[in-house]
Structures are given as structure tokens and as C-alpha cells.
């Protein structure tokens, strides 16, 4: 029987409340308690990046974040990027550059790239590759993903 913890935080710009257990990860909270399934379970150990979200302006893997630790913080998931201009440019580039195949890794990479472009306006291909080194993709071989992110960077300036 797990103790229940009440937390409140900002999720995609909206104040929300949730009841979580100590061992629950932020990923589990988002998917199972809050029904936001855009953030994916890929490995549960921070190695694949499919669960990437941003917390207080930093991207991180939500599978390693304790849900209770979301209390008082600002969280953005892929769903929260629906109308953001930077994210719109990224998503358009992903589509036009052929960077999406099965698409399972895509939300995590879009969030990570969105975060990266917020820090560095014109990342070089090398910087982009390093920037997404924590995101695994099995389908694309990364080349078009890197092109898409560079493309979006160029479009945004």
C-alpha cells in the first residue's frame, strides 16, 4: 500500500493538481494519471529520450523524474507545444524533411530540439547531433532529423 502525495504544478500553461505515489515517475503520472499519451515510454531508464519533457525550462527524461518532484514546477510536454511558433516551425520541418518514419521517437526529439533551439539559434549539424545524442531512433538513421532541426533553425531566424 503506497502513501499518496498531493501535488500541484503548471502543466502546459495550466495549473493542475495530481495525486501521486512515491515511486511513480513523472512519465507514469503524465500517461496514466493525466492521460497525456504524447510522451512515450521507451525504456524507463533515461537512455532513449522518448519521454523527454521540459521542467522549469530544462529538458529531461520524465521516466527518471519522480512525479512528486513536479510539485511547484512548470512542465511542458509535446501537447503543450501545439501552438508554439518555434515548435510549429520544427514540426513543419520534420514533416517536410522526411524526418518521421514510425514516429515513436518523434515527440521526444521534437521537445528536445525545441529546447535546443531555444538555447542556440543556429546550431551546427555537429551541435545538433550532440544535442540529440540522448534520443534513440531506430528507423531514420538520424540524418533527416538533423536536417530538419537545422532547417527549422534557419527558418526561425
Amino acid at each position: 500500500m503506497s502513501v499518496s502525495i498531493d501535488i500541484s504544478f503548471k502543466l502546459n500553461g495550466v495549473n493542475v493538481r495530481a495525486k501521486v505515489t512515491p515511486g511513480m515517475s513523472a512519465l507514469e503520472m503524465l500517461r496514466d494519471e493525466l492521460q497525456l499519451t504524447g510522451t512515450k515510454y521507451g525504456c524507463g531508464e533515461g537512455e532513449c529520450g522518448a519521454c523527454t519533457i521540459t521542467v522549469d525550462g530544462q529538458s529531461l527524461t520524465s521516466c527518471l523524474l519522480f512525479a512528486a518532484d513536479c510539485d511547484g514546477r512548470e512542465i511542458i510536454t509535446i501537447e503543450g507545444l501545439a501552438t508554439d511558433a518555434r515548435a510549429e516551425a520544427l514540426k513543419k520541418s520534420f514533416v517536410n524533411c522526411g524526418a518521421v518514419q514510425c514516429g515513436f521517437c518523434t515527440p521526444g526529439i521534437v521537445v528536445q530540439a525545441w529546447h535546443m533551439l531555444g538555447k542556440t539559434q543556429h546550431p551546427t549539424p555537429d551541435q545538433i547531433r550532440r544535442g540529440i545524442e540522448g534520443n534513440l531512433c531506430r528507423c531514420t538513421g538520424y540524418k533527416k532529423i538533423v536536417e530538419a532541426i537545422a532547417d527549422a533553425g534557419a527558418l526561425l531566424s
Partner: protein
């Protein structure tokens, strides 16, 4: 043939120590509050969570009754430059190390270890305090911190007052995953003395990727170059012993001697100071070969700065 019977039943009397053992979750905002909680005992500390969460999921971590999240304590944040040293708050993230121009110029090997750490997402969450207290023999920042003679600050509350003590990092590790931190103590900061003028340093982490690898071997090297020789030599090894270690014999073989002549003696000394194991990442033999070849290259390179 005699039947050998085995069961999978757990001994029922063992106490529950997985995450369901947690009865209270707290997130103190001040050091005093946190130390009070620690004094009461039975506390598991949560910082970035990048080690604690996977260990929780695999059942490797043992949880106490109280789960204490220290990330709301601003006193543990910040990089402060003092006269002779730099203080890194325990909650300094690896990204903060990487983004610091001061760290890149003054503590080059530490900066390089941050650059080879996991991934951007993990660097944003992982803390230097967590990396130290997790005490993995392969911990990325630990090798350069040893090169720079870092020391850890531990705080606790005995009665009403806050007590602090300082310990050289080299004396802090007991074994894989174990340190001299007492259950009632909190690691609040790590202090790194400014290296002498002309000190150069380098961090090597073996891998086929820039990051996202657990070290197979790691080498930290630092020294002052004086003409054709090195002085104030620091050599540290990671993933080559039960804890990250300094290598005094290797250092002695290099200190003050013409570098070109000292390299072979240094490599021979290093051979004796490391104690690699064979695991799924690499064999002990290969680790030894790597140390030999890579350390030679690093020494050749440091001679050419």
C-alpha cells in the same frame, strides 16, 4: 538421477525496503529543516533522481521510511568563486558545469567530463552532489575532481547547532556505491582549490560515443609544465578499481623528471596501481591495454602543449 528441487519463494521475514517502504515524502526548503529530518533518521535522499529512480525500478535501492527531496533548497545551489577555491553547491547540475566558462578555462578536465556525461537531458537533471554520493567507480565527474584535489563539505545537526566537516574527496569513497557520509549528514557542497598557474588538465573517457556510455575506463591527468618536465602531477583513474582513485606511484614516476624518459616508468607504475575487473563492458586485459596505450598518448600530448 536425484531430483534437485529449488523454489523461488522469498524468505517472508525480510523487511520491505523497496519504494513501498516510504511512508512520508518531504521537500524541505532550508538546510536547517533538512538536517533536522536527517537527525530523526530513516531518510533516503532524493536529488536529481537520475540514479535513484532506475535503482528504485530495478529494486536495487533500499528505501527508508522518509523520502527527502532536497531540490527545493536554494542553499545547495550556485557556483561561488572564492580567493583560492571554487565552491560548487551540491545541486549544481552537470549542464551548469558545462555552461560555465570559468569551469572550462580553470578546470578543463572537469569540463570535459561534463561534456562526456550521458546526454543533455540527463545533464540537466544530474547533480555533482548526486554523482559524488552515488560513488560509482565509473562516475564521470569523480576522476577530474580527484585530479583537482576536491574536498566535500558535509553538514549535520547534533543538537541545536549545524555541524560541518570537510573531507578530501580522495578519502571519501569506501567502495562501489559507498562513502563516508553518515546517515545524518548531507553533502552540501564540493570545494575545488584553484590549480596552480600553468596547470593543464585532460579527461579521457573510453567509448565509441561522445557520451551516453558508462565508462569502460576513465583517466584524468593534470600537471604544470616546466620546460621538458611535469610538476605537480595528478593522475586519477575511473572504472579501474572499486572506487575512483588517484595514482601516487604513477604521479611520482612523472613528477619533476624529463617527461620523455619518464613515460615508460609511469606506464609501468600505472599497471600496478589499477585493478580492473572483467565485466560485460570489457575484459580486465583490455582495460589494461587501454590504460597503457591511452595514458601514453595523453602524456605525449601534454608534452606538446
Amino acid at each position: 538421477m536425484d531430483a534437485k528441487v529449488t523454489t523461488t519463494e522469498r524468505p517472508p521475514a525480510a523487511p520491505v525496503s523497496d519504494i513501498t517502504a516510504v511512508e512520508t515524502y518531504v521537500a524541505p526548503r532550508s538546510l536547517a529543516e533538512a538536517l533536522e529530518l536527517l537527525r530523526a533518521g530513516d531518510v533516503t535522499i532524493l536529488a536529481g533522481g537520475t540514479d535513484l529512480m532506475p535503482q528504485s525500478k530495478t529494486g536495487k535501492a533500499r528505501f527508508q521510511r522518509v523520502l527527502m527531496n532536497i531540490q527545493r533548497m536554494d542553499e545547495l545551489r550556485g557556483i561561488t568563486e572564492e580567493k583560492n577555491f571554487v565552491r560548487f553547491g551540491a545541486l549544481t547540475t552537470i549542464t551548469e558545469l558545462l555552461d560555465s566558462a570559468m569551469v572550462k578555462s580553470r578546470f578543463r578536465a572537469l569540463w570535459e567530463s561534463a561534456d562526456h556525461f550521458a546526454s543533455d537531458q540527463l545533464r540537466n537533471a544530474a547533480t555533482i552532489g548526486g554523482n559524488i554520493c552515488n560513488a560509482s567507480p565509473a562516475g564521470d565527474t569523480l576522476v577530474p575532481l580527484l585530479v583537482f584535489n576536491a574536498r566535500v563539505m558535509l553538514a549535520s545537526k547534533k543538537d541545536a547547532a549545524v555541524a560541518t566537516r570537510t573531507l578530501p574527496l580522495a578519502e571519501f569513497f569506501v567502495g562501489p556505491g559507498r562513502t563516508h557520509r553518515q546517515p545524518s549528514e548531507l553533502l552540501t557542497a564540493v570545494e575545488v582549490p584553484l590549480p596552480p598557474n600553468g596547470f593543464v588538465s585532460e579527461y579521457f573517457k573510453f567509448g565509441t560515443r561522445p557520451a551516453l556510455d558508462i565508462s569502460t575506463i576513465a583517466i584524468g591527468l593534470g600537471a604544470v609544465r616546466s620546460g621538458d618536465r611535469l610538476t605537480d602531477v595528478r593522475v586519477a583513474f575511473g572504472a579501474l578499481a572499486p572506487t575512483p582513485i588517484r595514482a601516487p606511484k604513477t604521479e611520482a614516476a612523472l613528477n619533476g623528471k624529463p617527461l620523455v624518459d619518464a613515460i615508460e616508468a609511469a606506464l609501468a607504475a600505472a599497471e600496478l596501481e589499477i585493478n580492473p575487473i572483467s565485466d560485460i563492458r570489457a575484459s580486465a586485459w583490455y582495460r589494461r591495454e587501454l590504460v597503457h596505450n591511452v595514458l601514453r598518448r595523453m602524456l605525449d600530448r601534454v608534452g606538446k602543449y
